[in-house]
């Protein structure tokens, strides 16, 4: 049973004017079997949290801890974090021209599983997972994310989630830019991944994905930290009243 612990995490982004603090003391624990939704206004630092945990070089951790099953995540390289069981479904998946999706998926699965998957079962596995997400087979031969629509990119992020089966998945605005059908398909993919062994940190601006993926916990993120936590009912409150109260409070606090 896995646990991701984020303890008093502070992080800065490097800008032309020097480092700019974004995360200001994030505390959060995600256990296997739990789905946590992080909701917050634009610019509150939600995506920074996701990228900081994944190890994006643009963000510098200034203090705090991130532990996966007690192991220090921040001391690991980006690929080590992934192999340790962390996964980040990105808001803007990166295009990698020249590398086919098939080649990429197999390389990733080989790295994560520690050995190359057996070819016959692998092909079946990939085809099945693609079909579950309504991805046509021709995508296997296309370059990673190159020329994909927003919805196609998100489907492929969830495809990777399905194939790599991480301990803890961080989904960064996986719902953004999706039409209703795509949102349903992608949500179903996430729900298939949900299990007592897996934890999810779902980052979103809107509540509509929570109609499809019911969270166990909802956290409001503002001013670079979690300002309020509750159950699914907190999302309803946000739906009704918006983020304004939290934005004001965060502004007053900083």
């Amino acid at each position: 049973m896995s646990t991701l612990e984020i303890k008093d995490l502070h992080a800065s982004v490097s800008t032309d004017d020097g480092p700019k603090p974004i995360l200001r003391g994030v505390d959060l624990t995600v256990k296997a079997g739990e789905t946590h939704a992080i909701m917050g206004p634009n610019g509150s630092g939600k995506s920074t949290l996701a990228y900081a945990i994944a190890g994006h070089p643009k963000y510098e951790i200034t203090s705090g801890q991130v532990l996966l099953d007690g192991e220090d995540v921040l001391g690991m390289t980006v690929d080590e974090r992934a192999r340790a069981g962390l996964f980040l479904a990105m808001q803007y998946p990166v295009e990698v021209p020249g590398v086919s999706m098939a080649n990429f998926l197999r390389s990733a699965a080989t790295a994560i599983r520690g050995e190359a998957p057996k070819l016959r079962t692998w092909v079946k596995e990939v085809k099945g997972a693609m079909s579950d997400l309504g991805i046509s087979e021709e995508f296997a031969d296309r370059s990673v994310n190159e020329g994909f629509s927003g919805g196609e990119k998100k489907r492929h992020e969830v495809l990777q989630l399905a194939l790599l089966n991480p301990k803890i998945a961080i989904l960064d605005e996986t719902d953004s830019g999706l039409d209703v059908d795509a949102l349903r398909v992608v949500s179903e993919g996430v729900n298939r991944y949900r299990s007592p062994e897996n934890g999810i940190l779902l980052i979103t601006h809107y509540t509509r994905i929570l109609q499809h993926i019911t969270p166990d916990f909802v956290h409001v993120f503002a001013g670079g930290r979690v300002v309020e936590s509750g159950g699914p009912e907190l999302a309803d409150d946000l739906e009704k009243n918006g983020y304004e109260r939290f934005v004001r409070e965060a502004a007053a606090a900083s």
């Binding site: 190890g55 690929d79 992934a82 990105m90 998946p93 990166v94 020249g98 590398v99 390389s107």
Partner: protein
């Protein structure tokens, strides 16, 4: 400028004629050629034809100061369907492939003492020819001609290895209805300089495929010129180059469509990987395609892609398409230079793929498209070569520490 602008005028061919000055010529078809080195002025480095080439590193090939007294041995073994001859300068066949179009090619032509002529007849087994550099500090001029008889079908690998400086001309003369695949590898030692002109002459209904692989050497400049002697010719030129820190790899192509119903397809890919504190890794690709007025029903496409893996690298790419008739099937050209950037690296790593593997994945995929053009099966198949070149590319990656 008083010279009228012509659509598609090849800028680097400006001044190719008349002493290679800066006066533009109107067309790639008007490019000056001569067997005589003295007919060309010594380039100063500002000419379009030479402006990308670091003349200081040419070891005197361009200004007459190279002694050219070394020997670059050609190793080839005759086999069934393959005739190997060593001939003098006066052999009637020499020059059938084409005429030098720059001073170094003319220098080599003026200096060589004997040429190797390899003739393919029928359907011989794949042949390997090795050209060894003259050795560190030495300079040499060479001449090789590959020719086919009508209806011949052959595959030949031309490997360049060793140290030293070599200027040479390669003539490839395809008889009517013959098919030839040539794989040219530049696998030189770090010190080597190779400036080579390839004269590719294609007969009626003949098919030529050239796969160029540039890996080694300090400076390697390859200038292929394709001419069609009669209709029905089909030419595919593909190439890859991997430029490390300090390396200069240059490819200058001219495909001259002067007769109807011919095809050409050009695809070159270069990867560059430099290092701080040394000369930039540099690739240059010049692709000129000329469709002359008589060349109706031409079908042509050319594409250059460059992958810049690191800082301290520079890729120059100049595709030119010059069309003098509208009665063609298709004509296209494209060039794209992309960077392997931190975001791509982060994305691949975030899926568990270690940094070195991520870089290899990208380079391997990038070059795969070229290497897969090397036939591995069938009568002209080269099962081991592709594997060997893949290994050589891996070794390059390892040397540069990625």
């Amino acid at each position: 400028m008083t010279t009228p602008e012509v659509a598609g005028l090849a800028p680097e061919l400006a001044g190719a004629k008349e002493g290679q000055g800066e006066k533009p010529v109107l067309s790639a078809g008007e490019r000056f050629t001569s067997y005589d080195v003295e007919a060309f002025e010594v380039p100063g480095g500002r000419e379009e034809n030479w402006r990308f080439t670091p003349l200081k590193r040419l070891r005197g090939l361009h200004d007459g100061s190279a002694a050219l007294d070394g020997r670059a041995p050609v190793t080839v073994t005759a086999a069934e369907g393959v005739t190997v001859e060593t001939v003098g300068r006066d052999d009637a066949r020499i020059g059938e492939g084409g005429t030098p179009a720059d001073r170094v090619a003319a220098q080599a032509w003026s200096a060589f003492t004997e040429a190797t002529v390899v003739t393919f007849d029928g359907t011989p087994a794949p042949l390997t020819i090795t050209i060894e550099g003259p050795g560190a500090g030495a300079t040499a001029a060479g001449h090789l001609q590959l020719r086919t008889t009508p209806f011949a079908e052959a595959t030949v690998v031309l490997e360049h290895r060793g140290s030293g400086v070599l200027a040479d001309n390669l003539e490839v003369v395809l008889a009517d209805s013959s098919r030839l695949t040539v794989v040219v590898t530049e696998e030189w030692a770090d010190d080597a300089v190779h400036v080579t002109a390839q004269h590719l002459s294609v007969g009626r209904d003949a098919t030529l495929k050239v796969v160029s692989v540039s890996l080694g050497g300090d400076l390697v400049r390859v200038s292929p010129t394709v001419t069609y002697r009669a209709p029905g010719g089909d030419v595919e030129l593909v190439g890859l180059g991997y430029a490390d820190a300090g390396q200069h790899l240059e490819q200058r192509l001219l495909v001259d469509h002067a007769v109807p119903h011919c095809k050409s397809n050009v695809l070159y890919k270069n990867a560059l990987q430099g290092r701080a504190g040394t000369t930039d890794a540099h690739t240059v690709w010049i692709g000129d395609v000329l469709i002359q007025a008589a060349a109706e029903n031409t079908e042509t496409f050319e594409f250059n892609r460059n992958l810049v893996l690191t800082e301290h690298a520079r890729a120059d790419s100049v595709p030119n398409l010059e069309i003098e008739t509208g009665e063609i099937v298709s004509a296209g050209h494209a060039s794209a230079t992309g960077r392997f950037d931190d975001e791509q690296l982060f994305y691949l790593q975030s899926r568990g793929i270690p940094q070195d593997q991520a870089r290899r994945l990208v380079v391997r995929a990038f070059f795969g498209e070229i290497l897969q053009r090397i036939p591995t099966h069938g009568p002209g198949g080269l099962p081991d070569l592709r594997e060997r070149l893949e290994a050589a590319i891996e070794a390059e990656l390892a040397v540069t520490g990625v």
